[in-house]
Amino acid sequence: MKRGLILWLPLALILILFAVFWVGLHRQENHDIASQMVGKALPEFTTPAALPGLPGASTALFRDGRPRLLNIFASWCVPCVAEVPVLMRLKGMGVEVVGIAVHDTTPALDQFLTRNGNPYARIGSDDQSRIQLALGSSGVPETFVIDGQGRIVKQHIGVVGEGDIPELLALLGKQP
């Protein structure tokens, strides 16, 4: 009978192992990196225009009393395609979206906007991710809500979805 019990030992061990894996899988923590800049004033920057027809952006712009969205994106970023329709809807509701294009080129950006539509009032070019880093952003897309005094009110990491619209509008001080 003893030999019989030993034969079940491997199964018991592997089940314990799998229990550990199962626990490990359910402890997936949030890997989003929150910016330390939320609640603080925008860092100083001035960017050249990324496209000939649209102006670039600078910190001074955000202090004119009008709350805006600051959207960090890139034409090479696949998820960024998905949020364009939502940004377009926000634009339709009177929200000004300022884009910061990270590591991008004019032709690629031009093509991106032609294909997907252009929700941006301005697009600044951030060739070396300096502005992105200064904002405490670690990926694309990310969207920041900036109040009329140039303060960062909120950082939204990842794609902006339909469900995010009411919260963004409220933070921007607009009625849905």
Partner: protein
């Protein structure tokens, strides 16, 4: 269209895997023996479909078809063609497709080439192979579709620059051939348990498949070690990274298996244990795949994936491994124990070898999974590093080497200690002399490297001893294979010990024109120059290296700035000499006009990989020797080949 064709081929392959499982399960019983003839064609056609799917995926990558989500996420039209193609398996979905492709090909190979196995056992083996394939097809089709489309993307997101390396073109496919090739051992074991056919005949049938997979696994691990050595720029050749360990664990189990299967084939011993190891080897491969693919461990290799995928693979593993072990517990009790043997015999040495390999496997597994378990239950984050693995697994490995030195010199069934002593005396003498010389002249090099070098010298002599006084022309090929593989172990251990004992390191901040020493060399920093790469901008440090009065030569470690995605990588400059490698890297930033240069002189470090290559070559020769002998035997017997 290509993507849709690939997806369709994948569905067909999945359907055929289901057919293979059902037909195989039915045909295992003698009552439906007439169904047996249909299994092999099903397995072969299944392989053709999955290979087609894989080539479709390569095609969409080669054409940079950005309407395929996977291509858009992982490729870039500006990438050189070879990296477009290797990008096919440089991501989660593609590498899983490669995994099932090899699984399908392994099944088809068994169907085509396996002729020694009893008909019902072969059918059950193919059914098991079909069952494994089915689960992983389901995983691909429902949770990791590589052919999903996306609209509106113009340019891809590039490939992790770390993975843009010729090493990547070959490393994963070879490693996977080893990992997944072990599925043959698993399926054979399941087939043998189901049909109660565990014996020498079965062991001889299974052995070539294990040897083949083991050779690929050995090449994959050796190549992977060299790849991380020269791309990561840290000067190390093994980091005890969870993903590296995930490849080492099946190798340890498989190494134990090729030795225990020899006992089963030659002496009809270790029946239950061999079956256990066959299940274990592939289980470790699947656990390795799970660890890498689920994102449960964070390491340089892991790809971010969603946790549902991990759960899916975990469920598959629970079904396959749990099922096989349940079958083992139920059935192996009915398998008789096999022939007994003397505690002092070659069988006993092989049992000791198996026990030590298993203990090392447990040590590696514990070190790899302990942080995970701790985090899971208490939330504490720790990491288990090289000091644990080296100090626990190192001495065990040296004891294993000593057993390896003696094992081939022992007789089967029973032997006498005095006779063994006479046979190993020359090796023992060389080992002791090496130890004495090192203690006298090498200075303080650490216990592990000291004994490592002495044991390497001993094993090198002992591993050649089986050829002593033999007619070399009549010595079978598989004996040469064993000798070369064992010698390879000695060579590799010597390389590891030399690297640990004699490496010289010099970290300096230099201005242009300054000279610094490293080992027997003096290195002058001449300055920096820029040059554009195909899809990156490179900055190159120009270093003039001189040894004594020899003519100086230039070495140029580089920094590569990739644009999509933005990432900086370090490309070491490595120069190989007969007695070691000079390894130079340049730091990422200039500080006050000074650049950080890291220099290593690593005497005989290349022996590590040379030894690995010899081990693989030995395995290949053993495989060739076994297959040739079988062919001869069947021809002599007049049986149709």
């Amino acid at each position: 269209m290509i993507a849709e064709a690939g997806l369709a081929a994948l569905w067909f392959a999945a359907a055929l895997a289901l057919a293979q499982l059902v037909l195989g399960a039915m045909a295992t019983s003698d009552a439906r023996a007439e169904l047996r003839a249909s299994i092999a064609p099903v397995a072969i056609v299944q392989a053709l479909f999955v290979v087609t799917a894989f080539f479709c995926l390569i095609a969409v990558f080669a054409r940079s078809d950005m309407s395929v989500l996977l291509v858009a996420e992982n490729s870039h039209s500006a990438k050189p063609m070879i990296y477009k193609i290797s990008g096919t398996w440089g991501n989660h979905e593609g590498s899983m497709l490669l995994w099932v492709t090899i699984l399908g090909v392994a099944g088809a190979s068994i169907a085509l080439f396996e002729r020694k196995l009893r008909a019902d056992t072969k059918v059950a083996t193919l059914a098991a192979q079909g069952a494994i394939a089915l689960g992983f097809y389901a995983f691909l089709l429902f949770a990791s579709n590589p052919f999903a489309r996306i609209a509106g993307v113009i340019e891809g997101q590039g490939l992790n620059p770390l993975l843009q390396d010729p090493g990547l073109a070959f490393h994963p496919p070879t490693l996977y051939a080893g990992y997944v090739g072990m599925s043959a051992a698993f399926s054979f074991a399941v087939g043998a348990l189901v049909t109660r056919n565990v014996g020498p005949e079965f062991a001889r049938a299974m052995r070539p498949w294990i040897l083949g997979a083991w050779v690929f696994l050995t090449i994959g691990i050796t190549a992977g070690s060299y790849w991380s050595y020269y791309t990561l720029g840290w000067g190390g050749w093994w980091f005890w990274d969870p993903v590296e360990n995930a490849s080492l664990m099946p190798w340890l189990a498989a190494t134990a298996l090729i030795h225990s299967v020899t006992v089963l084939a030659t002496r009809d011993g270790l029946r239950a244990w061999t079956i256990m190891l066959a299940v274990l080897a592939f289980s470790m491969s699947m656990v390795g795949t799970f660890l890498v693919r689920s994102g449960i461990l964070t390491s340089v290799h892991s790809f971010a994936v969603d946790p549902r995928r991990g759960l899916f693979i975990l469920e598959l593993l629970a079904i396959y491994i749990g099922g096989a072990l349940t079958l083992f517990a139920l059935r192996v009790g009915t398998v008789s124990e096999g022939t007994r043997f003397d505690p002092f015999s070659r069988e006993a040495a092989l049992v000791a070898n198996n026990l030590l390999l298993t203990v090392i496997l447990i040590v590696v597994m514990a070190g790899t999974l302990y942080p995970l378990a701790l985090e899971g239950f208490t939330g504490a984050k720790i990491s288990v590093g090289a000091p644990y693995f080296n100090s626990v697994a190192g001495p065990l490995a040296l004891v294993l080497m000593l057993i390896m030195a003696a094992g081939p010199l022992l007789r089967w069934r029973s032997d006498q200690p005095a006779l063994l002593l006479r046979r190993v005396a020359p090796a023992l003498l060389v080992g002791v002399i090496a130890l004495a010389v090192l203690i006298a002249f090498a200075g303080p090099i650490g216990l592990l490297p000291l004994f490592g070098l002495a044991v390497a010298a001993l094993v090198a002599v002992a591993s050649l001893a089986p050829l002593w006084k033999r007619n070399l022309a009549r010595t079978p090929l598989f004996t040469y294979g064993m000798v070369i593989a064992h010698l390879g172990c000695a060579v590799s251990i010597a390389g590891m010990a030399c690297e640990g004992a004699f490496t010289k390191e010099n970290l300096v901040a230099v201005k242009a024109g300054e000279t610094q020493p490293i080992g027997p060399f003096s290195v002058t920093f001449a300055g920096l120059r820029e040059f554009p790469g195909p899809n990156y901008a490179a900055l190159e440090g120009v270093l003039l290296v001189a040894k004594g009065s020899d003519k100086p030569f230039i070495m140029a470690p580089q920094l590569h700035q990739f644009s999509d995605p933005p990432m900086l990588t370090n490309q070491a400059a490595i120069k190989t000499f007969w007695n070691g490698q000079l390894y130079l890297t340049i730091g990422e930033k200039e500080i006050d006009g000074r650049w950080l240069i890291r220099m290593w002189w690593k005497p005989f470090v290349t022996l590590i990989w040379l030894g690995g290559a010899m081990i693989a070559l030995g395995g290949a020769l053993a495989l060739l020797g076994r297959v040739r002998r079988e062919l001869f035997a069947s021809r002599k017997a007049g049986a149709p080949a």
